[in-house]
Amino acid sequence: MRGIDPVNWADEFSALQAQGYSFFDFLTAYERDGAIEVIARVLDPGRKHSQLLVTKVDTDQKSVASISRVYPGSVWHERETAEMFGINFIGLSDNRPLLRRSMIGRPPLLKSSVLAARMLKPWPGQPSHRKQQPIGVVDDWLQA
């Protein structure tokens, strides 16, 4: 896995494609230490070699360059990552949501996004004499 400076993200993929990495595998994101990182993998089918690249998403702008001009197959992945993490892919031509009905509301895959279903349903594991908390709910959930 190679970390890439966000300003070079799209250029790096152009260079890789020129080197023979013609097959786009996947692109997604994850949240770590409060920052969002975008990760993507491309392959060179001839040499049977792959490259896994990762970059940090600008925290304020929540944006990163789209690689869809280099790898058109990444459009679907960037659409999905955009709707699930609230990332703005600069240069992505298609920004219709896939699973969400609209982009209004919090991106569901951010750790800070509360799972409404888990808030509404009482956790059956709640003991009477001890405080314990399931995952996917806010800190003061039990007191609420």
């Binding site: 219709r96 949501p97 896939l98 009905r101 569901p108 279903a117 888990r118």
Partner: protein, 165 residues
């Protein structure tokens, strides 16, 4: 920003219903429209491959169906909308339209945890928590996925429910 997804053409989907005899009860004949939305759909394929469901013909005309219907215990061929898989909110309108376009007699069978309640995606913000929020379900088949045999058990339960008056 564009919003909303284009709905899939349901007409093509509905004409995909196929007629089967249930091996466990040769007098039971159903037309099944399988909405295979996720992994559960494989179990429906398994049921056919294992001979638990025997396809009658590629597609039956109205007249031929009537002939088949006479030989069945119900005197009619019930069309089953088999919802096997995860119903995302984005796809739910298509399921609703498929249901509304099926002709009577018809019954919806919810196959597997996702269709029953949302299942493993019960906490997902993009998944419908059970297809019964949209259409009336006749029989709920449990499992994640249910076994092919469970599909047959569910169909027999539909049969037992159909009261010939």
């Amino acid at each position: 920003m564009a919003s909303g997804n284009t709905l899939m053409p349901v007409t093509a989907l509905v004409s995909g219903a196929r007629a089967y005899r249930v091996a466990a009860d040769p007098t039971l004949c159903v037309q099944i429209l399988d909405l295979g939305l996720a992994c559960c759909a494989l179990e429906v394929g398994s049921a056919i491959a294992a001979g638990l469901l025997v396809e009658i013909e590629q597609s039956l005309g109205i007249g031929e169906l009537a002939t088949v219907a006479e030989g069945t215990s119900q005197g009619a061929v019930t069309t089953i909308l088999l919802i096997s898989g995860t119903i995302t909110d984005a796809l739910a309108p298509a399921v609703l339209r498929a249901w509304s376009q099926l002709s009577e007699p018809k019954a919806a069978v919810s196959f597997g945890a996702c269709a029953n309640t949302g299942g493993p995606y019960w906490d997902a913000p993009t998944v419908t928590k059970g297809i019964d929020q949209l259409i009336p379900v006749r029989v709920y088949v449990p499992g994640c996925p249910p076994r092919p045999e469970a599909l047959i058990a569910g169909l027999l339960k539909v049969r037992d429910e159909i009261v010939v008056t």
